[in-house]
Chain length 478, copies 2
Amino acid sequence: MSNPGLPDSTGLPDLNELATQLSPNALVTDTDVIAAHSSDRALFSPVESALALVRATCVEDVQATVRFAAKHAIPIIPSGARTGLSGGINALDGCILLNVAKMNRILEVNTLDGTVTVEPGVINLDLKNHLADFNLSYPPDPGSVAISTIGGNAATNAGGMCCVKYGVTRDFVRSLKVVTADGEVTTVGRNTAKGVAGFDLAQLFIGSEGTLGVIVEVTLRTVPKLADPLTSVALFSDPVHAARTVTDYLGKGATPSLLEYMDGGTIEAVNAYQNFGLPSGAGAMLIVQSDGSGSMTRAQEDLELFQQVAQDNGATDVMYSDDPRDSESLVAARRAVAPANEKLAHSRGGGELVDDVCVPRGRLAEFFERQAQIAQKFPDILVIACGHAGDGNMHPNVIFDAGDPVSIQHAKEAFGMIMQAGLDLGGTITGEHGVGVLKAEWLARELSPSAQKMHVAIKQALDPQGIFSPGKMLSHLK
Amino acid sequence: MSNPGLPDSTGLPDLNELATQLSPNALVTDTDVIAAHSSDRALFSPVESALALVRATCVEDVQATVRFAAKHAIPIIPSGARTGLSGGINALDGCILLNVAKMNRILEVNTLDGTVTVEPGVINLDLKNHLADFNLSYPPDPGSVAISTIGGNAATNAGGMCCVKYGVTRDFVRSLKVVTADGEVTTVGRNTAKGVAGFDLAQLFIGSEGTLGVIVEVTLRTVPKLADPLTSVALFSDPVHAARTVTDYLGKGATPSLLEYMDGGTIEAVNAYQNFGLPSGAGAMLIVQSDGSGSMTRAQEDLELFQQVAQDNGATDVMYSDDPRDSESLVAARRAVAPANEKLAHSRGGGELVDDVCVPRGRLAEFFERQAQIAQKFPDILVIACGHAGDGNMHPNVIFDAGDPVSIQHAKEAFGMIMQAGLDLGGTITGEHGVGVLKAEWLARELSPSAQKMHVAIKQALDPQGIFSPGKMLSHLK
């Protein structure tokens, strides 16, 4: 999609004009600081040269920045903690980076309604810890839980390990305060448990990756404090048996609060990184937890069922623990996949691409077969996977030699073939990491021409100048 | 909002042209049949004279009708079982009524993924019954559960009694097949548990009340078959003590699967209608159920907590039953409020307006105080309420003499004052019944100018000719 409203810059706008409208020190023109704020954690996503960085400390800073950008037809890229994996907040030439990480106050915990209102820069884990004092939980737990912000989580509809039972960010947002393309601030969504007054614009903004406006406040519903879960682990000779276990188990009406997958290569990578007590030599592993919705009996039944189903599906070993330390260690092992793979990549030339496809859970076995074929086709690179098995959401990691053009080429091909496998199996190119720059071309393959047209029309309707995050998620849609 | 694309009809379009493109007998021009399809169940909502009725039996019928309407700039009003309460599907002069109630096949139950795909005309209760054979449940249960369609439920984001634990229709829709304003058919949403590829257009269509397109297929997620609940009832001398019980109970981390409210006047109306064993003379009643997420122990704990909290809040009587027949009878009593109020209205001049505001649950007590003030202001009419207390979603019924202009005027005033109370308390004018014609003017009061602008822009973007349901939900937005 083109940005018809953005003329070529023929002269630089006067940043002093902007500075006078902002909080002291909010405007940053130091090129080193700008560079440090110019990218997220994605590979193969271009980083260009921003005109300026605004570190907003209040809604008025955001409004002033948007109005300035609109007046001068300058692209504006909202960002938070920059922990994304798709290049969605990477700088464009001449853009303003609008960072809201400093807007990080928890504004209100409403215990009567079980809601919490925060500024966008609040770190997810900080919110969780804060809510614990009120006996409340906010379930969404992306891998970046300790470092990513609630605003970023909402802008990308972040997921995590809890989703198999509790859902994603979208399921917890009651309302958003947003700054729109004309610099107005408005509330979308509602502060009640139910409501059908008009379009659900909050749902439209969630997952829109900064292309429709800037999120400056989020009201979330919470749930009563989650009970400590019980944990079980099953090992398999190969991924397909693990996949069948997932389908059978959930098909029997189980409601696990976590159902994670690691393949043999991932287990090896984690073992090489740190000793979490994981066995070696398995072809695949499932970690399951149940909190029994507060009933320990129900949690035990959930895990007994899991063990039975895993054994019926040829599990080579099934372990069970009601020691919370063991549970924590197993989940820590799953969370360690990211640094473990980084270390592995480092030893093999430094290249790593993290994919994120989601297929209907009934087609996981086929997906694993496709993954094996892709790995076989490129023996010079590694394709290993972990993921949120209960949701069919897989993260194949492509590990390659970043110094070898052939290896890079193979990695890119494998990355694409993984997404194609996802689409072929009725799934999506991204379950939770988002589109950004990395998958913008692929979004155009996933969406029908008619759905693309709707995206373009809505973008044009809400941001006619095209100032918000051009060249990103929507850039290949027609 | 005006409909710039719709010129005044200077001549009638040739319906034969449309007939040749439709399934046999799909086009209906018989004025009696058209009249029978021209309205839902709302009062005070104008019903005009439709040009024709199309009873679609397939997606192609819908596409042909939309294309014909677009070509001739004729308004088109999609409908299902016409059980709405806001006039959203009432005929406009010269419109085509596009009814999809005959598209009522259950297309696929996918037990591997726990999803079900249906045509829009499938009745909610029929779907529930069908899923029971697969040990699956589809929770949303609007009052119209036995007569309303899944397509209509999606178009209006229907709620019900389950929502306090399980959420509304929106929370169960994976994807929709829709026919857009250009007659194209496309899928919005996704068939996976998670997905973030682009805007969530399915969420935009849900609750859009036929203003953006026609829903021709719905894929829903299901949950494992819900366990039979236990039931408890508490009586109070007045509504405010009931409200405090709701807030305290939920604040203690309870997760009831139903938490319903009836005030004294409503209990009397139900008792006059049929004997469900409800006591008389109470000022307010709460019915609570817990399914314990499958754990009977947990369900019992939930209800014991309820009884304790109710007593602490001055309940005059608390009853408990683990006999499923008692539970069914109590819920049947709650479901009988609609016909009971109809009967009551009949005895008082026939007028009845059902309101549907939702406030933050922490403000229910204040809402009841406002309701009492409104009732006091108009002693010639009745204002009695029931509702989904756990969600703060109240249905005050205004009962009046439809033959007395003063009574009608008072009823309308009271109806508006109830909505104003909802807005004043941080709530919404409609929790689940929708906007339609009845509350279109009020939608403009609820939404900020900026949010209105977004609605108008999106409508214009997706339906530039304004053919879908003009004069309804969006008609007062600027």
